[in-house]
Symmetry: C2
Subunit: 333 residues, 2 copies
């Protein structure tokens, strides 16, 4: 027996093989599996290439995110990061990523594929899946900060499970908001309102932030009771007051959320710790916890992103590619 | 500008592109770079697929090992592991691995290549490079446990920098020792002696263990003053007495060595800690520490393996492949 060849899939092929509806289902199922411990997601390891480190001198980072997916019996890794600086100046998207899949029993490399498209899709799907367990209604109003790629995928994913009755969008670049409104007019059932001022988008049942802002622009006083807030950026988007006064903090992965994104600063200042985290999305998905929002509550939800979601989606893409004989094979060994 | 394509390299191509002499030089240079902090090697992250975990039920693991190499200005990751069980029964090698390289400034994926061959080569080279700073002579006597793939590459790498005057080899499978003696007769300058009993191989200036033994077979009383011992297996090969009485413990990466391989058990039992580690190989290579063996000393050296070495060697392979137009290009994005 020879080592089986590895299937290579590019971004266009991946796009043709999976829909947002399927990604939302896969993410939801993987969430449940994480909740009951059947999916294994070690804490990601960061290679800082100058995003925050003084050396090396580049404006980027890479995260290594391996996982084993119980319900698919698959293992893999996403190596993904974000780069600004010269990459941005040249007009390339922020995210760069590759996903590798192995046979978890024999160790053969089954596939190598682009990871950027799956990253965007699963990040949207994570919000949608978490919302399933946090709100009580089918029709929701949404406030959105950031009208870029992830603004689109967040909106698409939420619309798989909910009717978006009204969407208020704010972006520092108004043209981006206008393009977003045009692109999303068939996805959003209700009206899309372009906010002139940041505070005008802070309305609705759900607020999603997908910005690269390094400012804490989302103010505590803007956020009304009955709201779930998802700050999805890599930096801190909410002000400290809101984070410290939120009634519940729900996360995807406790180990990760303490060291990256919205909570990092407050954890370093010792104003927040693991004790302040209410539960994981996986525990809600698995039915182990019930945390649906009450009228008087404000919930902070942080699906910062797990490799498990990427590997789970990539496995579904791989299975479909094999079924449809899509992709090129390469013998690495 | 389009995203540049990714170069794919298979094991045969990699073999044709790099020699052990070059690997030893690259490893040595990367060691120095680690010692002065110009190469960044975050602690590897383990995905246990049943090697020691109760779930999932497979006899394998995968380690994610990202690194930035200062002297090459390159970044990459090796995702590598070992599988026994059915993989072994089917006759496949223990190690399975893939290496990805990126442009550290722009985040483009430069290459995807087999990682198993480079793993074997750099593991041998790590021992050779460390020995450069630990012994005083050019002619050495070597005791070797394990006559498999890694036994070969350890011997080849050491013979790049030293004349092996005598080599005593022990393997639980005598046929493996006989094949080794045949394969290595031109690499080893002196005599190769096949040991009938384990203790007969515990002689020489240097003892290298590259076994998959889960027993602590190497006994304290066998190891004479003036000996450097390299237990390179994933499990514990030396008995506790030797580890606890060694005059110096020298490692490649303090963070890793406490959690895997020879020291793990004693660290868990709190009989050993970071305080017992003399220095890193990188510090010796960079000239920051001088720890050459004295006649009355016994040194334990643990180059457990860093992603930095893999990424550094893979970068050299990639540069040569580009120069010689070897490999296939694939557009992932």
């Amino acid at each position: 027996m020879k080592t089986p060849e590895t299937l290579l899939l590019n971004q266009e092929q991946i796009k043709s093989l999976i829909t947002m509806k399927e990604v939302v289902e896969i993410v939801d199922r993987t969430s449940k599996d994480l909740g009951v411990g059947k999916t294994i997601n070690p804490t990601k390891v960061l290679l800082d290439l100058g995003e925050t480190a003084a050396y090396p001198p580049y404006s980027g980072f890479m995260n290594a995110m391996p996982a084993y997916i119980g319900w698919e019996d698959s293992a893999g890794i996403k190596w993904a990061g974000g780069f600004l600086g010269e990459r941005k100046a040249l007009g390339f998207p922020y995210i760069t990523a590759m996903i590798l899949l192995i046979d978890p029993k024999l160790g053969f490399f089954r596939a190598a594929m682009d990871g950027a498209y799956i990253t965007n899709m699963r990040t949207g799907a994570q919000t949608a899946s978490a919302l399933k367990y946090l709100v009580n209604k089918k029709k929701i109003k949404l406030g959105l900060y950031g009208a870029g790629m992830q603004g689109h995928t967040q909106t698409e994913a939420i619309s798989v499970l909910f009717d978006i009755d009204e969407l208020r969008v704010y972006d520092v670049n108004r043209q981006a908001s206008e393009k977003f409104a045009q692109d999303m007019k068939d996805v959003v059932k209700g009206k899309i309102i372009i906010a002139d001022k940041p505070e005008d988008a802070a309305q609705g049942d759900v607020i999603v932030c997908v910005t690269q802002s390094k400012d804490k622009f989302l103010k505590n006083e803007w956020i009304k009771p009955g709201t779930v807030v998802f700050p999805m950026g890599s930096y801190q988007e909410c002000d400290d007051e809101f984070i410290l006064s939120a009634d519940k903090i729900i996360v995807d992965c406790i180990g990760q959320v303490l060291h990256r994104g919205a909570l990092r600063g407050l954890v370093e200042e010792k104003k927040l710790s693991e004790k302040n985290i209410t539960c994981t999305i996986g525990e809600m998905a698995a039915g182990l916890k019930e945390e649906r929002i009450q009228k008087n509550e404000r919930i902070l939800c942080l699906p910062i992103g797990t490799g498990a979601m990427d590997v789970a989606v990539a496995t579904a893409v791989y299975n479909k590619a094999v079924e449809k004989s899509i992709g090129v094979k390469f013998a690495f060994v």
